[in-house]
Symmetry: C2
Subunit: 305 residues, 2 copies
Amino acid sequence: MTREDVVQRLKDRAREAEEIIRRYLPAEEGFNRTVAEAMNYSVLAGGKRLRPILMREAFRLYDGTDEAALHPFMAAIEFIHTYSLVHDDLPAMDNDDYRRGKPTTHKKFGAGMATLAGDGLLNHAFETAFLAFDFRETDAGQADVVRALRILADKAGINGMIGGQCADLKAEKEESGVRTRDELIYIHKNKTAAMIESALMIGATLAGAAKEDVRKMEQAGEKIGLAFQIRDDILDVEGDASTLGKDIGSDAKNGKLTYVSMYGSAQAREDVEKLSEEAIRLTAGNGDERNFLQDLIEWMITREL
Amino acid sequence: MTREDVVQRLKDRAREAEEIIRRYLPAEEGFNRTVAEAMNYSVLAGGKRLRPILMREAFRLYDGTDEAALHPFMAAIEFIHTYSLVHDDLPAMDNDDYRRGKPTTHKKFGAGMATLAGDGLLNHAFETAFLAFDFRETDAGQADVVRALRILADKAGINGMIGGQCADLKAEKEESGVRTRDELIYIHKNKTAAMIESALMIGATLAGAAKEDVRKMEQAGEKIGLAFQIRDDILDVEGDASTLGKDIGSDAKNGKLTYVSMYGSAQAREDVEKLSEEAIRLTAGNGDERNFLQDLIEWMITREL
């Protein structure tokens, strides 16, 4: 598959994922209308929908067929990703005015409403994921949904994404910044990789994959997330504002130490390459031919480098 | 039961509830230590543990026996209540420096970490509640846990607590404030009553109560919450700083219209009385004698008036 083919197919997949996500957005009506508007604004402000797409590809890799229970989880993971961005952009956190070229949620709705919108999205993610129980009526089916829910909560929580944000915020607020390789890897693995692990693991779980295959997805997700974040560090230093749609070097300006500032560009690129190869190996499935998940991983990690 | 007996038994119940809640608090270690510290500080900063206590009493009212699945839900509802206070106190929201006589979470850990601690508590609430699946192995048992989870998420979300906070924040930020009785009742019902409904409904559900009994608990919770909030409005106007441990009239000073400012003290007291009687009637259960839940409701609503 050529690079253009991958990009085209990814666009199609993103459009499909967005159609699915839209079905689970809250209605904008009643006295709680404003928080629903702020939630919907945040979710629909763009984004590549990579996590729901990865979830669906993992589902297909393990021969999942009935997608009814998968769809609520696709929406749920995007809601969690979105809430994390809304809160991360707040004045009390990164204080960013723009994301993807649009005013951030707190610039448009105020910091109080943006706080509530983030809370609303996290809560709504679970409300949405619980809908999956309605589509899996057998014991085994219900057990798969429970397993998927536990992955969703675990990887988004303080032993996952929030843990990474805590370490990141702490390093940023302290004079010394990130001090060790362990700390930097912890941040990248949890702030970014955890939600990619979650996406792949949930897709496989809902397809009924074996425990060791779900574990493979976890390992692949970790490598993808780490590579993706190192790539992001490289782009943040060398990137172009129009491509990224955010302030160039904003992380660096905030005094954050990154993988690049710690290891240099050449080593960072080499590590990205190695992680990418490992992730592609782990997502081979049973087929002989290269699958779209593998193409997607390669594209995610190597684009614009 | 005398008033002193109720207060003594409530103290015992609160101590028991706190022992249960402590078991589910996160460990304070690793690179995410600070967010765990902020979460634990917030949960352990005091509070009457009314929601977990109400949950347990409803469980007992419907002859629940095996508490193993109940305990994670008792902790979960307290985590959700606590996160809502942490975020509500933030500078971007009510900007309160003290709660229950102690520095608020953002005064102690900074607004960024307090935002993460709130997020962490909401996410941890679901992680904790999912543990209940391990203690209900039959199909019917698992179905009760799913029902309880849905109540938990629904009542905490934008059609419950967050919806109430949205309307409250919006009214506060606008010159006009709360304009109609419908809007005021919406705020009280959702910001306060929803989580009390949740507590009673989950207790009954995990005890295996019939659908109509769970619905009764919902109605009782609505009346308790509404009465409790009107009572709070009365105390906010007339109360004593040392008893409440927060700034007197802080709501009124913020320009919020309350039930009292809208209807006057006399009408407010009359409505509290009526709601209290209805709630006590709804929680009679099958016994002839007055139960502790009824004593507790009376105490909650009429104390210090």
